[in-house]
Structure formats: C-alpha cells, structure tokens
Symmetry: C2
Subunit: 348 residues, 2 copies
DNA sequence: TTGAAAGCGCTAACAG
DNA sequence: CTGTTAGCGCTTTCAA
C-alpha cells in the first residue's frame, strides 16, 4: 500500500495519444524517415518495392502524418481561411461549398470563420488567422478597419476579396458591382410601369451600395424618389415585415419593392399578403440572392442571381496559384450578375 | 549580363514572409525566448517591467505567434473540428455560432467541415481532420461507416456527438431523442382531432427516426397508418412541394402533415395554398427546427424547437474539459426539445 | 533512388 | 521570476 518504491502512477491525460510517427513507420519498413516522407508526398520518387512495403506499414499502423509538423518546416500550411459575415445568410453557402471542394481537390483545407461581429473582435480574429499561417485568405467584403487591412497586407498572406467590386483591391478579387445591381433593378421596374418604388433593406455596406445605385437610377429616370425602409439588424424575416409595415403605415401607397435578400422578400410578401395587397397585381417584389426557394415560392420570386459556386471556384484557383508561386494571370475578376424575372414582378 | 559571379536572382515567392519570430522579439526586448513565450501565454508569471517592454516590442514588430510551432511542442493545437451534414440546412447555424463563440472565449478555434457527402469521401475527410491533430471533434450525427468510427476512436481525440441520442456514444454526447419527437408530434396532432396524418420528409437517419416514432405512435393511438412522402434529395422547398403533390394526387385527403424541416413545411404550405387548401382549416402543418421565419410566416408555423445554441455551448464545454485533462462530470446530456404551437395547427 | 544532418518556431522541464 | 537545454514531427538541403 504505502510501498515507496512503487508510487501510484498519477492518472495522466493522453500520455502518448496517436504517437505513431514517421519514425515508427520508417523503422518497421526498414527505410529512413525521408523515404517514408517521399512515399507520402511524392511517391513517384520511390521505388515500387519500398513504396509497397511502406504503404503496408502505414495501413497497419494507421499512420496519419502530422500536418502541423510538416507545415512548420515547409512553411506551407495547406490551409485556407474563409471569412463570411454570417452563416445564417444563405447567400454565401454555395460559395463556401464550392470553395471547400475546389480546395480539397488540390490538397488544401478550408477553415471557416464568421466576421459579422463588432470591430473590437476583428483584431482577435485576425490574430487567430495569422497565427495559423494559412496559405491564403478569402474575404467576403469584410474587414471594417483600415488598421486591419494594413495588418493583413503586412502578413504577406495572399488575399482574395469577394462578393464586391473595387478596381483597387488589397490583393486579388472576384466580385461584381452592387451599384450596377441597384441600377438594373430600378430600370427594370420602371420598364414594367412601376413608379412608386421602395427599398426594404439591411444596412450592410453592400446593400447600401445597391440602394445608392437604385436611388440614383430612379432620379435619372425622373421617378419619384424611392422610399427606403431600413431593417433593424439582423435582417430577419420578422424584422423585414416590421420595416415594411412601418413604411406602408406612414406614407402613400407603393407599387414595387426591392429587397436586400430573398429572405427579406419573403417577409415583405407575407406582410403584403396579410394586408390583402396582391403580388404582383398591386405591388411587385424583387429579391436578392436567388435562394433555393425563390423559384418555387408562391408567387415565384424575381431576384438577382449571383453564381456563387463559380465565385468560390475562381477564388480557390487564385489562392492556389499564388500559394504555389505561379503567376496569377487575372487577379481581378468581375463575375457579373443576372436579373431573374419571375411571377412576383408580373410574369417572366 | 552573363556575369557568372552575379546570376540573376530567380524571382522567388515569399522569401521570408512573416519572418518575425519569438527570437526577434526576445533579442529586441533583451530577454530570453521563454520569457516572451510566458509573456504571451501566462503573463502573470512575468514581471511588470519586462512585460511592458516585451509588449512594446511585440506591437512594434507586429509579432503573431506561430501556433503550428506551439502546437507541435505542446501537443495541443487549440483547434476543434466541427462536422455538420451541410451548411444549407439552417438548423445547425445556431449550434455552430455558439460553438465558435464558446470556444473562442476559451482560446480555441473552430474548424468547420461538411460531411454530407458520399461515404467514399469520409476517409479523406477523417485523414484531413486527424492530420491537423485537433483537440476535439464535434460530430453532428454523422460518420456513416463503422470503419470510420473505429479509426476515430483509435486516434484518441475527444469526440462529442450531437443532435441525436444514443445511450452508448463513441465518447461524449449532447442531443435529444428523435424517436420521441415523432411520438410527441403525433400525439399532439391526434389531440387536435386530426386523424389522416402524413409525413413529408427527407431521408437522413434522424428524420427516419422521427418518422418511426410518429408511425409507431399513430398505431398505438388507433389512427390510420400515416402516409409517408419521401423527398428526393436534397430536401429543398421545391422538392418538398413535388413530394406533397404526389401524395395529394395519389390518395385520399389528409388533414395534417409533419415535415422534416421548417423549409419543407414552407414548401408544403405553398403547395397547399396553390391548391386552395386552407391551413390550418383543412390541413395542419408541423415543422422542425423553429427557424427564424417560422414565427413570422403567414400563417405562423407550429414546429419543434431545439436549443441549438445551448447545445453548442455544452459541446464546447465538454471538449474543453477533456482537452484540459479535467474530469468530465456528465458526458451524456439529453437536451430535450419543445413543441411550439402556432397558427398552422389551429392556434396556440 | 536513397540517406544524414540540420533546423522550422515554439514550449515542457528543469534548474537557478 | 528568469534562463538553459532539449526536443515536438516533419521536410529541406546536400551528398552518396
């Protein structure tokens, strides 16, 4: 019991978890560590015989290389960080999905982060990112402070900005002009004979840009200035209803609404329905995003479609090119957008 | 030009990007590396004077510790991997959000992965995960093959399974019983006087468990066997409409539908509306998930609410406890659920 | 095609 | 409170 020669072993956590290393494999296969390394990374440099032997041992031991160690020496983490404002906004899902797949195919992994918080957290966030030494960062129109931008540039990590357009990005860019989206929707509604236009919109920077284009276009076309209902954050279905309700209660009737997202459009539709206003008879609605349900809603929703999957693939391409030291042929890509005409604006 | 003594330097990529290391900081601050390390990780162990000096140098140089290096030595990556079936299913968003925040607070970062693919990719996925040596894995009722489960157990990484209930999990669990969800919804609808029940449901394992509970309960209550419409994957709004349409066209009328998600419920609602069937008058609808729009839909949607945020916080708690070698007091947690009664079932 | 040596950037384990 | 020593697991030279 109290034998001093055999003290009870203190219950240590994970004394040697997953301790199978490249060393163990090398020993069992009767080769050197570096040969094992080559067998994993560049098998064409290893003879058939040793390759077979090594692979057998790897399977037997369940060896999985430690990428932290590899990344440390090679200075390549094979990690790409993507920052989206929020996961609840379905608009970014296809982009993230495509990004994941495209990177995976090339041997990279995606880390996903949410940036839709206060500026105070941005610093923490950036530190977390840079600390992991990703081979690239995909930004979704974020980074509020100038300070953060500088820091990111200083880190030397390749950056792709997306979902927005700027002729002079930090580094690379795949996006489209929100200004032009606003203009095009306004022109379209005017052509449909709508004159009393309104916006029901969230308050993020890109939505504001769409608003500006919309309002400017209305002025140019000689329409009455569009009325704007800002949605209290977050821009949920419920808040959209509230915002539109306030607009309807406060002023003259309107005959068309441009919404900052398809979800908002759904809220607007429900509010109109509950007031007995017909869509598209009395009021036309245009959404933004072309989410899965836009086409099958009742009535189906006219909206702006962005090819988010293509965006993701292009961004992945750019990052990988830069990470592998290749020359990037076209670092700034305008993806464009498409106005999809459906029932909510009077039939397509 | 052809001076052999000065060959043109090949244009190398990132020759020394972000090369400021703990070494540089130590030198400039006139202390040893380990003191800098302590200043960053356990500042209470460093004197005020040196701390101030070090912090100044860190700011000046823009030093960000390389977590790959730290993780290598300490065998703690401070990385937690979360696997969700898909990002498009909004049900998991609050969980992911809460997980992110709770982990961040404790100095961990979340890596998000999507698992909703074919089994063939599961192996790749697991390899990618284990390769990064996360301190924990949060699983969302996934991992199709028995092989994968074994491999995960063998890796020794703490695992929390979520969004499901099993008395004998791999390691730890935070979830609820889908069987009981099905039972409760069925009982509820029966109590409302509904007798001709139907299911419109996706085909994932958990939805199937809800179906089983629902069907079993109906039998027990002496109701006619519920009719089941399976939705072609993916379970979108449009596919839900198609599935319900087929059901309505093929057989006798029904007076209540239990849907496998709120999105499906929206599709079901739209299909009923377009056929002039009133909700809840002719048909009652119950969803699953209590997404943001459920409460503000028209009519508002009765549904099953899961406290996804709480689930995320609890999972984070468990992971961190295990990662830090503390004893886990309650490794299996039944979170429960709540039936939220709204207009789509005849008023709450 | 293979191997030996060296070290990526950091931190545990001891001493002082 | 501070420093020294020794490596984490892997890959990049370089040489055979």
């Amino acid at each position: 019991m109290s034998d001093p020669a055999s003290p009870p072993a203190p219950p240590r956590r994970r004394p040697d978890r997953s301790s199978v290393t490249i060393c163990d494999v090398a020993r069992l296969a009767g080769v050197s560590m570096i040969t094992v390394s080559r067998a994993m990374n560049t098998p064409e440099q290893v003879s058939e015989a040793k390759l077979a032997k090594i692979r057998a041992v790897v399977d037997q031991l369940g060896y999985v290389p430690n990428r932290m160690a590899g990344g440390l020496k090679s200075a390549r983490s094979r990690l790409v960080m993507a920052l989206v404002p929020s996961l609840s906004s379905q608009v970014f899902t296809p982009t993230v999905q495509a990004l994941t797949e495209a990177l995976e195919q090339r041997g990279y992994h995606l880390m996903l982060g949410q940036s839709g918080y206060e500026d105070s957290r941005e610093d923490h966030m950036l530190e977390a990112i840079i600390g992991r030494r990703p081979d690239g960062i995909v930004l979704t129109g974020v980074l509020h402070s100038q300070e953060s931008r500088k820091r990111l540039i200083a880190s030397g990590i390749p950056v792709v900005e997306t979902w927005d357009y700027s002729p002079s990005p930090i580094d690379m860019l795949v996006g489209f002009s929100h200004d032009r989206v606003g203009e095009e929707v306004c022109t379209f509604l005017a052509r449909q004979g709508r004159r009393h236009l309104a916006l029901v919109t969230g308050s993020d920077a890109r939505a504001m840009r769409r608003r500006d284009g919309f309002v400017r276009s209305a002025a140019r076309l000689g329409l009455p200035p569009p009325r704007v209902a800002m949605i209290a954050a977050p821009a949920t279905h419920a808040n959209a209803r509230v915002a539109l309700a306030a607009l309807l209660d406060a002023g003259p009737p309107l005959d068309a609404v441009f919404c900052s997202s398809d979800l908002v459009a759904l809220g607007v539709l429900n509010e109109l329905q509950s007031r007995g206003l017909s869509v598209p008879g009395a009021v036309a609605i245009v959404g933004f995003g072309d989410l899965a349900y836009a086409a099958s809603m009742h009535p189906s929703l006219s909206t702006i479609r962005i090819d988010g999957a293509r965006l993701g693939r292009l961004a992945a391409e750019l990052i990988v090119q830069r990470a592998e030291g290749r020359e990037v042929d076209e670092p700034v890509i305008d993806l464009g957008f498409e106005l999809v005409e459906r029932d909510s604006t009077g039939g397509g």
